[in-house]
């Protein structure tokens, strides 16, 4: 069975083609700068040379059509015809309260998705555009939506409700939704696999640390709490997002700096986090700054670590224990210094990591010592394979 996984952003399309007999990647690629005259497509079929071309691509339908042209290209492609694709799996950011699991897309699903655009104005409309475009090109191929929020739909009310007037939740569905769900799901399952244990019996804390970052408490294979909330702004310190901040401070800043809603929103989402403190948003630049004795890079790093520690502590408490802590995504997988700084402060839980294992790269592995009471893992996240699996499951 061949599954085409699509992740459409407002100006980008990323894709992977899977042969689901062995979950092998047949091809992958992306289109950047969709909507412009100089859009760039990069494509690589497994075992073949990478191809890249620049051309005008004004909308998503053309972008997806170009991807499919490359996939079926005799020289660079990996299938003969688009008909070989059995289904398309779409990444959709927000499923609201309507979708607690992946779904087969039909008219009704699209209507609901449309109504959810308010909750994720930057992402859902683009995801929906991708769905419409794929349907137009492959009208007979089943399409599946896999939601970033779905894995967190098991979070109980005491963790998803904010302590504000209940009517606000009833009227506007303001609550914690959480994001990166597909990633938290994948890495928690993979960790159980690496531990050789049944996930039902495990309490796992998954740290998805990328440019956007969130932590989830996964008990018995189900998400019971997560650091991102109503929007991806809550929780950890991120590349350019503030994470947790006293709402009272926001009102004060708005008044003092005479900011409107758009300005404060943009300040907290695009000018804060590592960038807000240190002027750089990439953890590699922060590390470089620290090596050069940059005081603000050091503070930024320390805030970043402190936030993680607070959440690990909180989730250990709310699950009444923890069996494993997992690091994943850009920073989680590639920055030993972050893992080291976090784990050194978790001695009270009996966490011990092996420095040599911690410095290894590029494989899923346990980095804790055999006598560590809590196991620590580094797992490469793979959201696309979860989307492909969910798609197959719905056919």
């Amino acid at each position: 069975m061949i599954i085409f996984v699509l992740n459409c952003g407002s100006s980008s399309v990323k894709y992977k083609l899977y042969d689901m007999r062995d979950e092998s990647v047949m091809a992958e690629g992306k289109v950047e700068r969709v909507g412009q005259d100089n859009a760039v497509i990069t494509h690589q079929s497994t075992g073949k040379e990478e191809v890249s071309k620049t051309m005008p691509i004004l909308e998503h339908t053309t972008a997806i059509r170009e991807c499919l042209n490359l996939l079926t290209d005799p020289e660079h492609g990996s299938i003969k015809s688009v008909d070989e694709i059995d289904a398309v799996g779409h990444r959709v950011v927000h499923g609201g309260e309507s979708f607690s699991d992946s779904v087969l897309i039909n008219e009704r699903t699209k209507e609901i998705l449309e109504s959810l655009s308010d909750l994720a104005p930057l992402h859902n409309p683009a995801n929906l555009m991708g769905i419409r475009a794929a349907e137009k090109i492959m009208p007979k191929t089943p399409q599946v939506a896999v939601f970033d929020t779905a894995f967190h739909s098991t979070i109980p009310p005491h963790a998803f409700l904010y302590a504000i007037p209940y009517t606000v939740y009833q009227r506007h569905k303001v609550r914690r939704y959480g994001f990166h769900g597909t990633s938290h799901k994948y890495v928690s399952q993979r960790t159980a696999e690496l531990m050789g244990k049944n996930i039902e019996d495990l309490k796992i804390i998954t740290c998805h640390l990328g440019n956007g970052a969130s932590i989830a408490a996964v008990q018995g294979g189900k998400s019971v709490d997560t650091s991102m909330g109503f929007t991806p702004l809550e929780g950890l310190m991120m590349g350019t997002r503030s994470g947790d901040i006293d709402p009272g401070a926001i009102f004060y800043i708005m008044k003092k700096e005479e900011l409107n809603l758009h300005e404060i929103d943009s300040m907290l989402n695009k000018h804060s986090g590592l960038y807000g403190i240190a002027g750089v948003s990439d953890m590699r630049d922060i590390e470089k700054g620290i090596a050069e004795d940059d005081r603000l890079c050091k503070v930024a790093f320390d805030i970043f670590i402190n936030r993680i520690l607070k959440y690990v502590g909180a989730y250990t408490a709310s699950m009444n224990g923890v069996d494993a802590i997992v690091f994943t995504a850009g920073i989680g997988e590639n920055t030993p210094s972050v893992r080291d700084a976090v784990c050194r402060n978790l001695e009270y839980l009996g966490v011990k990591i092996d420095p040599e294992l911690n410095n290894r790269r590029g494989e899923d592995l346990e980095i804790s010592t055999p006598d560590s009471k809590v196991k620590v893992f580094v797992v490469g996240t793979d959201e696309e394979v979860v989307i492909a699996r969910d798609t197959v499951a719905l056919l």
Binding site: L58, E257, L259, H262, E263, I264, S266, M267, K270, H271
Partner: protein
């Protein structure tokens, strides 16, 4: 036809605002203006973006991206390459008519024209061009990037398709489009000059000074900018000319207060001369001056 490249005729406050707003929504914008106006407009747009950057509303890379989408030219022949034309020149009937006629020859036949006029009748302008079914009135209100409404005027000659194009354009700029009947002064300018005129009378009669009138009006109706500052930013000469045009078309209730005439005569035109109802710094910020100091400023 997909609209990607738009022409903005006129690089005044309205034209610049439309250009900035359209570029920030992803359109490629060509500003047409006379003399060194284009270069100056680009500088002012950059200044406006810098103010947004200072308020964290955009990022440095967003600023570069927006500026990169705006170019300017003196050469009207470049109109042959645009997908939509927005006319934002000064409200002078014959100037506008001539410009629209020239554009009519140069633009591709399917290109829709939008006029931002507030005191002239769009249907009269439409009569001067061959594509009269493709001219629609759309009045943006400065500061264009910040004001979320636009007034749509549909002359009888306009085709539904052209109206759709204008509406879609305004909506993509995040403006709520309100369809109003064709009438000189539209809604915003007409209401504004009434408010400004009344405030001027109160000042002239010694009921209160400009600062008090401004603050009371602004705070009672929760405005982010009071009418007198708005008038200063638009230019008191422009306000006076609107009043005179409306007086001619709609009657004496728009007759300008003598104080406004006096200010214009004294070249006290608002932000552009650093003094109007209020005084302004080089960066266009309001200076709060006591009445006495203001008199000194005048001399």
């Amino acid at each position: 036809m997909e609209i990607r490249r738009i022409a903005v005729l006129g690089a005044g406050r309205l034209g610049r605002g439309i250009a900035e707003c359209a570029a920030s929504k992803g359109y490629d914008v060509v500003l047409f203006s006379q003399g060194a106006g284009g270069q100056d407009a680009l500088r002012r747009i950059e200044k406006s973006l810098d103010r947004k950057l200072a308020k964290w509303a955009i990022t440095e890379s967003e600023k570069r991206l927006i500026l990169g989408r705006i170019s300017y030219t003196l050469d009207l022949k470049e109109l042959a390459n645009v997908d939509l034309l927005i006319e934002a020149t000064i409200d002078h009937f014959y100037t506008k008519k001539e410009l629209l006629r020239t554009a009519d020859h140069l633009c591709r036949p399917e290109v829709v024209f939008i006029s931002t006029t507030s005191t002239l009748l769009v249907s009269e302008l439409a009569r001067s061009i061959t594509r009269n079914d493709q001219l629609v009135g759309l009045h943006f209100i400065p500061p264009v990037p910040d004001v979320p409404v636009a007034e749509l005027v549909v002359p009888e000659s306009a085709s539904p398709e052209a109206v759709e194009v204008a509406k879609n354009f305004a909506q993509r700029l995040d403006k709520k489009v309100l369809h109003i009947h064709e009438s000189a002064g539209l809604v915003n300018p007409r209401a504004l000059i009434t408010l400004v005129n009344e405030a001027a009378y109160m000042i002239d009669e010694g009921v209160c000074d400009a600062a008090a009138a401004e603050l009371i009006i602004k705070e009672s109706w929760g405005m982010s900018q009071g009418p007198l500052e708005m008038a200063d930013r638009l230019g008191l000469d422009l306000i006076l000319s609107w009043m005179e045009q409306l007086q001619e078309k709609l009657g004496d209730r728009y007759a300008p207060c003598p104080l406004i005439r006096r200010y214009v005569r004294q070249k006290r035109l608002g932000v552009k001369t650093r003094l109007g109802f209020f005084a302004y710094t080089e960066d266009d910020a309001v200076v709060s001056l006591e009445e006495g100091e203001k008199e000194e400023f005048e001399e």
